[in-house]
């Protein structure tokens, strides 16, 4: 007897759990050639709200961990990704329309990017922090601290490498993230969420919503409990990006602006993606007391 296919339900990832959208809506996801692949949850503004609440709750614990421990966990994500390599390669090939070798290259790069950021976890403070010389009997130190809840509109084209390259620099320094995945290519993001759920990342540190960045973006940008936003997912839509920046200004969010076109993710990113979501705390301490 022929066996029935077990079709997977692709869901959201909020607070360490995999709920369906609060709205009950889903949408059809097609592969690069336009063939139906699966239904994905269509996140609504209320899912954004729930995700921000979950993220805020996780912020204290995550930012309070040692940088070394956060690095270990990021490395662990890379390990588990490596384990599920065939699944990621399939998903990337399907959604981006790449050949097998190119898809493998994308997954390689995504895993390597995670390892690269994992290494930065306990080195960032040494590089961007400082012991400042001052004209008085004081020690004066500057240390980086995480900004808080960061909303990220993940890139629309690079469904895995772009996602990882957007997310990793946010969480490595102790921020927590609410990510809106690529609208047309959401499946690698859902698989990535499953990796996160099984790699010691505390629930709520990363929340992944599959849905339309142009719809969810304004809610995220206007949300008063979101401290920063990365707009790379609306690259190439300067009008929308402008509106989001205006909404973000209401509570003085840090904004990582949308580029004119989606960047080349294969290039080594440098420090900027991490420093975009840091606050610098400077402490004066009297000498010899």
């Amino acid at each position: 007897m022929a066996r029935l296919d077990v079709r997977k339900t692709y869901k959201l990832y909020i607070g360490g759990a995999f709920p369906r959208s609060e709205s009950g809506h889903s949408y059809e996801v097609a592969d690069a050639a336009g063939r139906f692949v699966a239904n994905a949850s269509l996140a609504s503004r209320k899912d954004v709200r729930d995700a921000v609440v979950a993220a805020r709750k996780a912020f204290g614990g995550w930012s309070g961990r040692t940088a070394y421990n956060r690095g270990q966990i990021l490395y662990r994500i890379a390990e588990v990704m490596e384990d599920r390599r065939p699944q990621f390669e399939d998903a990337v090939r399907q959604s981006e329309g790449l050949g097998a070798a190119a898809a493998r290259g994308q997954v390689d790069a995504a895993v390597d990017r995670l390892v690269w950021y994992a290494g930065w976890a306990d080195k960032l403070a040494q590089v961007v922090g400082n012991a400042n010389p001052v004209a008085g009997p004081f020690f004066n130190h500057t240390a980086p601290e995480p900004t808080g809840v960061v909303g990220a509109l993940a890139p629309q084209e690079s469904s895995l490498l772009g996602l990882v390259s957007t997310l990793a620099p946010v969480v490595v320094s102790g921020n927590v993230a609410v990510v809106v995945s690529s609208y047309g290519r959401p499946l690698p993001a859902v698989t990535f969420a499953e990796v996160l759920a099984t790699s010691d990342v505390p629930g709520g540190v990363v929340n992944i919503l599959t849905g339309d960045a142009t719809v969810l973006g304004p809610w995220l940008a206007g949300h008063m409990d979101v401290n920063a936003i990365d707009l790379v997912g609306v690259a190439g839509h300067p009008d929308l990006a402008g509106e989001l920046e205006v909404a973000a200004a209401d509570n003085l969010k840090r904004v990582r602006r949308a580029p004119a076109a989606e960047p080349d993710w294969s290039i080594e990113p440098g420090l900027e993606p991490m420093t975009a979501f840091l606050e610098h705390k400077t402490v004066w301490h009297p000498v010899g007391v």
């Binding site: 954004v48 709200r49 921000v52 805020r56 809610w219 206007g222 949300h223 008063m224 409990d225 979101v226 909404a247 209401d250």
Partner: protein
């Protein structure tokens, strides 16, 4: 709602003097009350919780819920400064929005009444917990002295706890007499009296039948309000327990013409929960109870969530806890 309630509450109450004349009559009456259908009560409460309240109805419900809050702090670590801050918040829950109403009352321990009074004056009621709150384990004269102290200090409302031990042991007369005595202690020299709320601590009463019995017991003894919990015992207020109590006050008014208020306390943390309670009040007891005079929420964290939802409705964007006071 069609009602056959007696027009004269005094006569209505007098018709129940037979059942409260001694322990046996009281027991016969309380045990003669119809049992609560546990599954039915829980299903009804759950069904009412699914109602969707949106837009202008939601606006109205949020403002009403704010006006119904008894803003509460009952910690051993309460300091005069903390209590004053809470009192200021009770007056102006959202200082950035003058259209935001004040809460109904501030609920504190008896020794903090004067402190609250000095901040709120007569603009907001002051409720004091008394009678050896939260356990109720003290001699009667101590409980009465506790009550009188709070009334003298200016409390508008007294939240007393019943002796759950006596109730569970079946000594209903003792519980009844205690409520009557505390009610007397609520008298002020000018003839008026502080509102008496009777706390059942439903989390310790085990069954809905007991909740129904104790509700009638307290109402017959002269409670002005019946209240679910102290907030110190889990589970505190739940929807089904409040449903049983709302049915009791509804039936009591039909029988005697006397209206009694209800106050769920503890465990109500979100605006969504508060709205579920309001729906239930409207459906079970009727809209006569949809005012701060007859329904209250005993809560502290609830207020911030109500304010956040209110801000969301007025500004159109989600608000966050950074914009409201910690308490």
């Amino acid at each position: 709602m069609p009602t056959t309630a007696p027009t004269d509450p005094a006569a209505g109450l007098a018709s129940y003097s037979e059942v409260t004349k001694d322990e046996r009559a009281l027991r016969r009456f309380l045990h003669g009350l119809p049992g609560v259908d546990q599954v039915g009560a829980e299903a009804r409460a759950a069904a009412l919780g699914t109602r969707s309240i949106k837009t202008t109805a939601k606006e109205w419900a949020l403002d009403l819920a704010i006006r119904m809050v008894d803003l509460t702090t009952l910690e051993g670590q309460d300091t005069p400064g903390k209590v004053r801050a809470l009192a200021a918040k009770a007056l102006r829950p959202d200082p950035s929005d003058p259209s935001c109403p004040s809460v109904a009352a501030v609920c504190v321990y008896g020794d903090m009444v004067a402190e609250v009074k000095s901040v709120v004056g007569d603009a907001v009621n002051v409720a004091a917990v008394a009678t050896a709150f939260p356990s109720g384990r003290a001699a009667l004269d101590i409980k009465l002295a506790d009550t009188r102290d709070a009334v003298e200090a200016g409390a508008d409302e007294i939240d007393m706890v019943i002796d759950r031990g006596a109730f569970l042991a079946g000594r209903y007369q003792q519980v009844f007499d205690e409520i009557v005595a505390v009610k007397e202690a609520c008298q002020r020299p000018d003839g008026s009296h502080a509102h008496l709320k009777v706390i059942f601590e439903t989390g310790e009463l085990q069954t809905y039948d007991n909740v129904r019995r104790v509700s009638w017991l307290a109402m017959l003894a002269g409670a002005d309000f019946i209240k679910t919990s102290t907030g110190k015992v889990q589970p505190a207020a739940t929807l089904p327990v409040t449903l049983v109590m709302l049915e009791a006050v509804r039936d009591f008014r039909e029988a005697t013409g006397v209206q009694i208020g209800v106050k769920p306390a503890g465990g109500i943390r979100t605006a969504k929960d508060a709205i579920k309670y309001l729906v239930m009040v409207n459906e079970v007891a009727g809209d006569d109870w949809l005012t701060p005079d007859w329904f209250r929420f005993g809560a502290s964290t609830l207020l911030n969530d109500l304010l956040m939802q209110r801000t969301k409705l007025t500004t159109g964007r989600y608000s966050g806890p950074d914009y409201f006071t910690l308490d």
